[in-house]
C-alpha cells in the first residue's frame, strides 16, 4: 500500500474546508411551523396531485354526461356503458374467480415473456456493445426483425409453438425484447471512454471493466428500455389474447364484446390500463433501488 507511515506532513496540512457546508443546526420548531415548512417545500407536488385528481374527476363526469344523454355527435355514445354501470360490473367481477383468473393469467404471461426478454435482451445488448464482431453479426438480423410488430407474429407464433399459451408468451417476449435490446445498446455506446481509461489505470481487467464500468454506466438506459419494453409487452399481450387466447384480460374484453356485455368491455380496458400503469411503476421503483446514485 501507500508509504503513509512517514509522518512528513500531518494530515491537517492537507485538510481544507470547502463547500458544501454541513446544514446549520436548526432551532427546535413547533408542529405548526414544521407543517407550514413541509407545505412550502412540497407545494408543487401537492398542486400536481390536486389538479390530477380534479382532472380525473372531470373525465368521469364528462363520461357520465355523454352516456346518460346518449350523445351522438360524429361519435355515438348510444351503446357506451355509463361509469356507474362499469362500477357495478366491477363489484360483481371482483367476486368472480373467473375474472380474477383472467387477470392472473395475463400477469403471468407478462411476467414470463418480459422476464425472458430482459434476461436475453440486456446481456445480448451489453455483449454487442462491447464486442464489435458480435455486433456486426447480430445487428443486421435484429434491424430486419425489429420493425415487424409483435401482432404480425401471431400466425407464425401459432405455427412455431405447440400450445397457445406458449405462442402468446412468445408474442409478449418479442414485443418487449427489441426496446430492451436497442436501449441497452444505446447505453453501451454512450459509456464515457474516460471512465474506462480511469478503470484501466487502476488495474481493472476486461471482465472487471465490464462489470464495474460498462454495466452500471448503461443501467439508466437499460431501465429506459425495460420501461418501454413493459409497455409494448402489454400491447402485444392484449393483441395476442384477443386473437388466439382462451383466457386473459384481453380475451375477457373481446369476449365481452361478442357477448354484448358492454360494461365489461370498459371494465377490461380499465383493468388493462391499471395493470400497465402498475407494472411501469414497479419497473421505475426497481430502477431507483438499483441506481441510488440517480436519486435526487
Amino acid at each position: 500500500m501507500l508509504r503513509q507511515e512517514e509522518p512528513a506532513v500531518s494530515p491537517a496540512d492537507a485538510v481544507v474546508k470547502e463547500e458544501p457546508a454541513a446544514p446549520v443546526a436548526q432551532p427546535r420548531r413547533s408542529f405548526a411551523s414544521l407543517a407550514a415548512r413541509w407545505y412550502r417545500l412540497n407545494k408543487d407536488c401537492l398542486r400536481a396531485v390536486a389538479i390530477g385528481a380534479l382532472s380525473l374527476f372531470a373525465f368521469l363526469v364528462l363520461w357520465h354526461l355523454l352516456t346518460t344523454y346518449r350523445v351522438v355527435f360524429f361519435v355515438r355514445f348510444t351503446n357506451v356503458p355509463a361509469p356507474l354501470e362499469v362500477y357495478a360490473s366491477f363489484t360483481k367481477a371482483i367476486h368472480d374467480p373467473k375474472f380474477l383468473m383472467h387477470i392472473v393469467l395475463s400477469c403471468r404471461r407478462i411476467l414470463i415473456g418480459f422476464s425472458l426478454a430482459a434476461v436475453v435482451g440486456v446481456p445480448l445488448g451489453l455483449v454487442m456493445g462491447r464486442f464489435k464482431l458480435i455486433h456486426e453479426i447480430i445487428f443486421p438480423v435484429a434491424e430486419v426483425l425489429r420493425p415487424i410488430p409483435a401482432i404480425a407474429w401471431v400466425p407464425m407464433a401459432i405455427m412455431l409453438w405447440p400450445t397457445n399459451e406458449q405462442s402468446i408468451v412468445f408474442i409478449t417476449f418479442l414485443g418487449s425484447f427489441f426496446p430492451i435490446l436497442v436501449n441497452t445498446l444505446h447505453g453501451m455506446s454512450l459509456v464515457d471512454p474516460v471512465l474506462v481509461r480511469a478503470a484501466q489505470c487502476l488495474g481493472a481487467r476486461e471482465s472487471s471493466i465490464f462489470r464495474e464500468v460498462y454495466f452500471p454506466a448503461s443501467l439508466p438506459h437499460i431501465f429506459t428500455g425495460l420501461t418501454v419494453g413493459m409497455g409494448v409487452a402489454w400491447v402485444s399481450l392484449i393483441a395476442a389474447e384477443m386473437i388466439s387466447g382462451q383466457y386473459g384480460i384481453g380475451y375477457f374484453t373481446w369476449e365481452a364484446y361478442s357477448l354484448v356485455q358492454y360494461a365489461d368491455i370498459a371494465l377490461g380496458m380499465i383493468a388493462i390500463g391499471v395493470l400497465g400503469l402498475g407494472s411501469s411503476l414497479l419497473i421505475r421503483g426497481i430502477g431507483q433501488l438499483v441506481m441510488p446514485w440517480r436519486m435526487k
Binding site: 508509504r3 512517514e6 506532513v9 441506481m291 441510488p292
Partner: protein, 294 residues
C-alpha cells in the same frame, strides 16, 4: 556496493520515467499526421516535472503514451527500465474531467484500485478512509460524486489514483476546469501529498504559473508536431508559499516561459494571424480605445 548496502532499509528509488526518441503519428485520409516528434524527456524518482506548451502541441498525447493508452510510432517509453505496455496500476492517472465513477460513493471510488487488486473489503475500507482523511474528505465518504464541488471531485480523483501506491502519478490538466481560488488550494494539496509520498509526478498544464509553482523542472513543447523546445529547472526553494509567485525570481521564470510559449502559439495559429497578432502587439493606443483608432 556500499551504496547498495546503505539502501537496504529504504525503498530503492522508484518511478524513473524515461521517454526516448519518441514520435507518434496517426493516419488520416490525407496521409499520416505527426502529433509528437523526436522527443526526449525523463523524470527522476520523486521528481515533480511539468510539461507546458501551446494547445494542440501533443503534451496530452505524450502523457497518454506514458500512461500506456497510446503506443509510440517510434521510440521507447520506460518506467524503471521496463517498457510501458498498456495501462497499469503502477502509473496512476488524474484526468481533467475528474472521471469519478458516478455509481460509486466517494469511498468506493477510492477503494476501486485496491478492489481490483483483490484486497479484502475491511482492509481496503480502512485504507480508503485513511486516504480520504489526508485530503480532508472523510466526512463525504458516503456521498456520490455528483454532489461534490469540482475541487472535491478532483481531490477524490487524486486520492483514488494514489490509493494503489503507484510508482508515478500522471496528471492531465487536472485543475483546468476549476476556478482560480480552488485551483490554488488544489495545488497546495497536491504539493503536500507529493512531498509526503515522495512519488514521481508528470504534470501536463497550459497554466505557466501552475507549472512553475509546482515543479522541479518544466519542459516547454513546440507547436505541432510537438517536441521539446526547452527544459527549465525551477530552483525555487521548498516548501513553496503563495507569496513566492510575486518574487522577482518567479516572475523572471514566468517571463521566460511565456515568451517561449507565445512564440509557439503564434506559430501554431499560422502565418496570417501571426502578422496580425504582431501588428496588434505594436499598436500604441495612447489612451484611446481600439474602436476609436479603427
Amino acid at each position: 556496493m556500499i551504496q547498495a548496502e546503505r539502501q537496504v532499509d529504504t525503498r530503492p528509488p522508484q518511478g524513473h520515467i524515461e521517454v526516448e526518441d519518441f514520435a507518434l503519428s496517426y493516419e488520416t485520409i490525407e496521409g499520416s499526421v505527426e502529433a509528437v516528434s523526436n522527443t526526449h524527456i525523463h523524470v527522476k524518482p520523486g521528481e515533480f516535472v511539468s510539461i507546458v506548451g501551446p494547445s494542440g502541441c501533443g503534451k496530452s498525447t505524450l502523457l497518454n503514451a506514458v500512461a500506456g493508452f497510446l503506443k509510440p510510432t517510434s521510440g521507447t517509453v520506460t518506467v524503471d527500465g521496463e517498457a510501458v505496455n498498456g495501462p497499469s496500476a503502477e502509473r496512476g492517472m488524474v484526468f481533467q474531467q475528474y472521471s469519478l465513477f458516478p455509481w460509486k460513493t466517494v469511498r468506493e471510488n477510492v477503494e476501486f484500485g485496491l478492489k481490483m487488486r483483490g484486497m479484502p473489503r475491511a482492509q481496503r475500507e480502512r485504507a480508503a478512509r485513511t486516504l480520504l482523511g489526508l485530503a480532508g474528505l472523510e466526512a463525504f465518504e458516503k456521498h456520490y460524486p455528483e454532489r461534490l464541488s469540482g475541487g472535491m471531485k478532483q481531490r477524490v480523483g487524486i486520492v483514488r489514483a494514489l490509493a494503489t501506491g503507484p510508482k508515478v502519478l500522471l496528471l492531465d490538466e487536472p485543475f483546468g476546469a476549476l476556478d482560480a481560488q480552488t485551483r490554488v488550494i488544489m495545488q497546495q494539496i497536491l504539493t503536500n501529498l507529493w512531498q509526503r509520498l515522495k512519488i514521481s509526478v508528470l504534470f501536463v498544464t497550459h497554466d505557466i504559473d501552475e507549472a512553475i509553482f509546482l515543479s522541479d523542472r518544466v519542459y516547454c513543447m513546440t507547436a505541432r508536431p510537438g517536441s521539446i523546445k526547452a527544459e527549465i529547472p525551477i530552483p525555487l526553494e521548498r516548501p513553496r508559499q503563495q507569496s513566492m509567485m510575486m518574487s522577482s525570481e518567479f516572475l523572471g521564470l514566468k517571463r521566460g516561459l511565456m515568451s517561449l510559449i507565445r512564440e509557439e502559439s503564434l506559430k501554431a495559429m499560422g502565418g496570417e494571424i501571426t502578422d496580425l497578432g504582431m501588428q496588434g502587439l505594436n499598436i500604441d493606443l495612447h489612451g484611446h480605445s481600439l474602436a476609436e483608432i479603427l
